[in-house]
């Protein structure tokens, strides 16, 4: 009893926790404002949520200027350059998603206040994920970001498709986290600790223990569901099509990035010595994900489903550097981080254009993009930039992301890396085919029903487009800029 009562509060670094606390405070504030003013406060919600996100960016800036690595809770929570870069990425993507949501959620007569609270909660989980260096904190962060996302996917309560999207996402997500937890329990049993550093020491000794292999595989498979890697991708297209479009953008970008961040920490901090398991696993699922995602994307006629499968394939590209995790660790982390940053902006941008066009056409079919250039030249040019970036054509940002992949593969060297390089190259060409289909529709086809009224784009969507276009082009024209972030993150993640 004495021992139980002798509890001393762990030392808290309030400055390091400030971004998380700010997000939490604004999430709570939105709920309280909703309770007090009810319907009268609806208009203020997106503004409040946006201010919350920008306010939590401030402590990230001050922490970045400060630059010191802060470790809390016995190494379970680390704030270093790597986590700061990713936190900033999550918050900025979240801000763009909120800009996309404003009119969509208001016009659709959805529940506004709860929507923004859940969005902030999910972002809080992602921000926590980038600092987690412990099995328990990874698990809690994963659930904190997933559970609100299940509800957001089913947000159109009356719509059959949205219901189905929510159900499929929920069942797959929960099943995946149960599999992941079973793997975590096995890894914990062997290591005797939940901290990543202790796990690295215990499991990295090289002796081939089948239980360790099983545990590591289960954990990786759990996250493979999260990043919708083939063959664990089946939920993604249905969920993306059925969910409200801003939520789809959120899932395709922020949620997938969070899964990737968890994988980086697991592979490079917790299992650095286990390349015997990690490298073949990622080689296989990266190759499968790219190829199958692209091949199915070729046959899609609905633009959201096409972007969903293209997102699956892009996820495959992001998994490529993990296949050379042990041979070229620094380059591999750099390649994934850079790819995530560029992918976030180009994909969010593409979804913003889809939202804007759907305001007029009320359709997601690719045919409805016919002659877009004739009545909405601005949107057509923006979409061209984003599709060029996704396909990897300079000067739009995507080429630099692909360049990073090849650089990591070349640094690793060897037959397997070269083989994967060939798969990447072939897939880049396949992907160009379906991106080009949309381009042809927009620039060369005629308008389907001759309706050439211009599209009225609300201010918030214009702002979202501006942010994404500037970011996509900046990464393409000034790759040194984003490359710098990638390098900063490498050193500390390896040290952590």
């Amino acid at each position: 009893m004495e021992a139980l009562l002798a509890f001393s509060r762990p030392a808290l670094d309030w400055h390091a926790l400030a971004p998380e606390l700010t997000l939490l405070a604004f999430g709570t504030l939105i709920t309280v404002v909703d309770i007090i003013w009810d319907d009268r406060s609806k208009r203020a919600m997106p503004t409040l949520a946006g201010i919350g996100l920008l306010a939590s960016l401030l402590p990230i800036l001050t922490l970045a200027v400060d630059g010191s690595e802060r470790t809390m809770f016995g190494g379970a929570y680390v704030v270093d350059d790597f986590s700061l870069v990713l936190k900033a990425l999550f918050l900025i993507s979240g801000y763009v998603v909120i800009l996309m949501s404003v009119d969509y959620i208001r016009d659709g007569d959805y529940y506004e206040n709860e929507y923004y609270t859940l969005m902030l909660t999910s972002l809080l989980g992602m921000v926590m994920m980038s600092s987690s260096r412990d099995l328990i904190s990874v698990f809690v962060a994963l659930e904190l970001l997933s559970i609100p996302a299940y509800m957001l996917a089913a947000w159109r309560k009356g719509g059959a498709r949205s219901n189905e999207a929510g159900l499929k996402y929920y069942l797959m997500g929960v099943f995946a986290s149960a599999v992941m937890l079973y793997g975590m329990s096995l890894v914990y049993g062997l290591a005797g600790s939940t901290a990543f550093e202790a796990i690295a020491q215990e499991l990295g000794s090289g002796e081939s223990n089948p239980v360790a292999i099983l545990g590591i595989l289960f954990i990786l498979i759990g996250f493979a569901f999260k990043v919708s890697a083939v063959p664990f991708h089946t939920w993604a297209p249905d969920t993306y099509e059925g969910a409200p479009t801003p939520v789809t953008a959120f899932l395709a970008v922020a949620s997938k990035t969070a899964g990737m961040v968890a994988l980086i920490q697991l592979v490079f901090v917790a299992f650095p010595g286990r390349d015997d398991v990690v490298q073949p696993f990622f080689w296989l699922i990266a190759a499968l994900t790219m190829t199958i995602g692209n091949l199915i994307a070729l046959r899609q006629n609905n633009i959201v489903r096409l972007l969903a499968y293209s997102g699956v394939a892009q996820g495959g590209f992001m998994l490529v550097p993990f296949a050379v995790a042990a041979d070229a660790p620094a380059r591999a982390i750099e390649a994934v981080v850079i790819y995530m940053a560029i992918y976030a902006f180009m994909n969010l941008g593409a979804f913003t254009v889809v939202l804007a066009v759907a305001r007029k056409t009320r359709s997601g079919e690719i045919d409805s993009y016919g002659g877009l250039f004739q009545y909405a030249p601005g949107l057509a040019v923006a979409m061209t930039i984003f599709l060029a970036a996704l396909a990897g054509i300079p000067p739009a940002g995507g080429w630099f992301a692909k360049f990073g992949l090849f650089r990591a593969l070349l640094d690793a060297g060897g037959g397997w890396a070269a083989g994967l390089g060939v798969v990447v190259a072939v897939n880049t060409v396949i992907a160009f085919a379906y991106y080009a289909r949309i381009l042809v529709q927009m620039w060369f086809q005629s308008v389907p029903d001759g309706d050439e009224r211009p599209i009225a784009i609300p201010g918030s969507l214009k702002a979202a487009l501006a942010v994404t276009i500037i970011a996509t082009m900046a990464f393409g024209v000034l790759p040194g800029l984003v490359g710098h972030f990638g390098e900063v993150s490498v050193l500390s993640a390896l040290g952590g």
Partner: protein, 99 residues
Amino acid sequence: MLLNQFLILGAVLFSVGVYGVLARRNGVMVLMSIELMLNAVNINLVVFGVQHGVVSGQVFALFVIAVAAAEVGVGLAIVLLLYRNRTSIDVEDFDLMRG
């Protein structure tokens, strides 16, 4: 200590849960199968915690229990929503969109 027996119990429970998720069509039964999987994890965590003589396994199990409650809360809400709209909780009925 009967470490093996507990681990076998955990593995069997987990397998039963996986079978249930894949084979059962009733939404509520699927949720219960997921609970089985999570409880298998809890058994593993507590047993390993005792074996290593550290408390972190039990703490992890407490986190799993708390989060599982939240998860099932959301899951039941989704199943209820489906029942209101379609008067069915057969997960195979929901196939408007096919992967």
